[in-house]
């Protein structure tokens, strides 16, 4: 039997060779921030295989290893299946199974005890990045009446936010590189042209697929003539295809960006028309670029001056260019400025709102909840809102952004008030998001009650949870695609949840009901998503969206010229001045730097030469690996086979200096801590730099061996401090110092 949609002629569910096939957009858990079109083949209620959906414009039938092998995670014998209460001490693997009612009863009781004794602000709700609760998780915080919702122990909120804050105020909107993904006809849409130049800066998109961009779209652009400029200390595959590869010293990107601006301005090849019509304070920017000549930047970044000049010229002279920027910006201490400096180059060269350039995207059909916490989850009580923990960072206070660093301080010291309960959903800080994880584990001693909601017994769950709640995978639930402004899509349920698992949103509104029944009226996920959809401007219900699987709004270029961006309908950008602000007054108003500058990393050969005597190598961390999404997939046999051991990439000549051979286990250490990884020789890496994997733990270990799945043994975060930049944003993950020696 075929169930067809009248509008598209495309079925969402059908029978094929004894299977029932479901058409869906994949999501999480497990997995990444994309929404690849998939076909799920089900027989007798069991998911037999997943294929890419050739009709879905997003991925056009292609799929990455993780989605193809998702069965290994969904049916993994280690899946959490039942709510559990800890029966022994934290860290012991002793648990009592509970029903959901018992679990909610117990959580309600313990959380209300904490609220009564310390105030509800002493509860902190956290998320990671592994499941799609960006827009829904804050409801839990609202239900508990706490302003403290954070990415759990992510120092400096160091993930996209530093970039978005700096550029959002300058441009008034969110921009993303245009690889034709706004059009269902994709590369064949006559309105689109490939970017002449793609600048890939601080990420490896074909592996990372970060922030709603499928990295292989760039390969399609290369086929169609796009040239690449790649800025990365390591020769990625994309760098090998680039016209220019700039192997910068980690943490020096802002100097490079300003120097590129210097070249463009001094040669007069900026986009004068765009600058005059659509930008403000250009002269301030131009004067600032005088501080960083290509010579000076070459010295700072450790690259050839001529490369800087040629790359800048290529960018300026390109018909169109787009920027594929990455989390490396947020992972240097003053990364807030890096994002700003690089976005200035985009404006300098007029690459905004043209086909194949940086285009402004807004939530499709007005449905914002799928990627942004909506306004209706703000606490109504202003006094309670003001208790948000960011007290050391005036700029964060001004813009209302939380400081995970402040929350850790509050847990440790009780200043300005104690944090006594944690609700951690899709968050594994001891293995992944938390810097200085031993410090975080110790801090947990001060927290009376900890709930962990996840799919697997992670090190965090094992070491710290008092209650564990089992979450469903994407195949076991419905939902909406999100975290991207291209189309509205349905996540389709193909199988019943395993065991007693529930979807994350269901857990959110069910525990929410115990605290705020009016604020959590939904009784099932369909009601919840109908509510979410109802807040948009399309009269559609989830079941109707499922019929067509995806729905694209009309997309227009040159929105700033057409008056489509401002509330007053006038041409211009959605800023106070209506212009892109090279020097941004709003930023200054909030106590943030209003003009990009360069700041040496706090630990570097230049800033701390004495420390560098002891720790002579620059350490960057967290380069993405095929088959893993952060700390996920270590228990998936096919994915683990792709990359069995934690590795630190090192140039062969550097390794030789320390008597290290390819594949040797080595100790990486700095003033903060140490860990062990396998040396992976790679000739395409700066000789003064090593690149260590992140998020390693060993699910195959005995959970009773006292090591929490070995979460501190190969965890590079043992060398990373919980320390944000001056503003409270960004951290040093990718710009530290270390030394390497052969491990015993």
């Amino acid at each position: 039997m075929e169930l067809k949609s009248d509008q598209s002629g495309r079925a969402w569910k059908w029978e094929e060779d004894g299977y029932t096939v479901y058409r869906s957009n994949s999501r999480t858990g497990p997995g990444c921030h994309d929404n690849c079109g998939i076909l799920m083949y089900v027989k007798d209620g069991a998911l037999m295989k997943i294929e890419g959906d050739p009709e879905n414009p997003y991925n056009q039938g292609r799929l990455c290893p993780r989605c193809l092998a998702a069965k290994e995670m969904i049916y993994n014998p280690d899946r959490l299946l039942y709510p559990m209460k800890r029966a022994g001490k934290r860290g012991e693997n002793k648990w009592e199974r509970m029903t959901w009612d018992e679990a909610y009863d117990y959580c309600e009781k313990k959380l209300k005890e904490v609220s009564a004794k310390y105030g509800s602000e002493s509860i902190s709700v956290t998320q990671g990045t592994g499941r799609d609760i960006n827009g829904y998780g804050p409801r839990t915080a609202k239900s508990f009446n706490t302003p403290n919702y954070m990415p759990g122990f992510l120092s400096g909120f160091g993930c996209y936010i530093p970039r978005l804050v700096s550029t959002g105020f300058k441009l008034g909107d969110f921009v993303i590189a245009d690889y034709s993904q706004f059009f269902p006809e994709r590369y064949d849409d006559p309105r689109w042209t490939p970017p002449s130049v793609i600048v890939i800066w601080g990420n490896n998109p074909v592996v990372a697929n970060s922030d709603g961009t499928l990295g292989h779209w760039i390969v399609e652009c290369i086929k169609r003539g796009s040239e690449l400029i790649v800025i990365d200390p390591k020769l990625t595959w994309l760098a090998s295809r680039a016209k220019y590869w700039l192997p910068v010293r980690p943490g020096t990107d802002a100097a490079l960006a300003i120097a590129m601006g210097n070249v463009i301005c001094s040669e007069g090849i900026e986009d004068k028309d765009f600058i005059e019509k659509w930008t403000a304070n250009f002269e301030d920017y131009k004067n600032k670029t005088l501080e960083y000549s290509p010579e000076k930047a070459a010295e700072i970044c450790g690259i050839d001056k001529q490369l800087i000049i040629e790359a800048a010229r290529l960018l300026a002279k390109a018909n169109t260019a787009c920027l594929q920027w990455g989390v490396a910006f947020d992972h240097s201490s003053e990364g807030f400025l890096t994002g700003m400096a690089v976005m200035d180059l985009v404006a300098l060269t007029g690459n905004i709102e043209k086909p194949g350039s940086m285009v402004i995207g807004r939530p499709c059909f007005g449905v914002t909840d799928t990627w942004n916490p909506p306004d209706d989850v703000r606490l109504e009580d202003e006094e309670q809102r003001e208790k948000i923990l960011n007290h050391k960072y005036p700029a964060l206070r001004a813009i209302g952004v939380i400081s995970p660093d402040s929350i850790l301080d509050a847990i440790e010291t009780g200043d300005p008030y104690p944090v006594k309960a944690l609700w951690m959903q899709t968050n594994n800080p001891l293995a992944c998001m938390g810097a200085d994880p031993k410090r975080i584990l110790k801090a947990f001693d001060n927290v009376d009650f900890i709930v962990v909601v996840d799919m697997f017994m992670t090190p965090t769950a094992l070491a710290a949870a008092d209650v564990i709640l089992p979450a469903a995978s994407f195949a076991e639930r419905i939902g909406l695609s999100g975290h991207q402004p291209y189309y509205l899509g349905a996540i389709v349920k193909a199988i019943e949840p395993l065991g007693d698992c529930k979807s994350d949103p269901q857990i959110i509104y069910e525990i929410g009901k115990r605290f705020d029944p009016e604020g959590n009226p939904w009784n099932n996920d369909e009601e919840f998503y109908n509510y979410i959809l109802g807040k948009g401007n399309l009269p559609i219900k989830y079941s109707e969206l499922r019929e067509q699987t995806w729905k694209y709004p009309e997309f227009e270029y040159y929105k700033h010229e057409k008056g489509l961006l401002r509330a007053d309908g006038e041409p211009g950008f959605n800023t106070m001045s209506g212009k892109y602000e090279f020097r941004c007054e709003m930023l200054a108003h909030f106590g943030l730097e209003d003009l990009a500058s360069y700041s040496e990393p706090p630990e570097s050969p230049v800033r701390t030469p004495e420390l560098a005597q002891k720790y002579p190598l620059v350490l960057t961390t967290g380069a993405r690996r095929w088959g893993f999404f952060h700390s996920e997939h270590r228990q998936s046999p096919s994915m683990r086979r792709l990359h069995p051991d934690p590795c630190v990439t090192i140039h062969p000549e550097t390794a030789a200096q320390y008597g290290i051979k390819d594949g040797d286990w080595v100790k990486i250490e700095n003033h903060l801590g140490e860990c062990r990884m396998k040396a992976e020789f790679f000739a395409g890496l700066r000789k003064d730099t090593v690149s260590a994997d992140h998020a390693w733990w060993f699910p195959e270990r005995d959970p009773e061996d006292g090591t929490f799945f070995g979460t501190f043994e190969s965890n590079i975060n043992c060398l990373v401090p919980m320390r944000p930049g001056k503003s409270g944003l960004a951290n040093s993950c990718k710009s530290l110092l270390c030394r390497i020696s052969k491990a015993d």
């Binding site: 295989k49 294929e51 020769l235 595959w237 395409g684």
Partner: protein, 109 residues
Amino acid sequence: MAKGLLIDYRYCTGCHTCEIACRQEHDYEPTKDGIKLNSIGPTPLPFGRWQYDFFPSPTAFCDGCGDRVSKSKKPACVQHCQAGCMEFGDVSDLAAKLVNEKMVLFTLK
């Protein structure tokens, strides 16, 4: 008619999707591959260029996805290839497309 797999490895990014897609299609255990990824480099070349290439080659366990092909579907590896750099068909048709550097045509049984 002899069948073949044409690979344009100017674009192969080494993502392993072909290996995993093949395994899933045939329900092979994690250590069995119907197609296997190979790599060359990174090796420095003159003028700042680098050789850093990947390309997969079919193994003895490749059955040309006859099941899928008979239903007008592409072989699992070809459809799922993230770079879209593989093509399946008659060897004679594919051979005519060997016009660029870094292309390879594997003949299948």
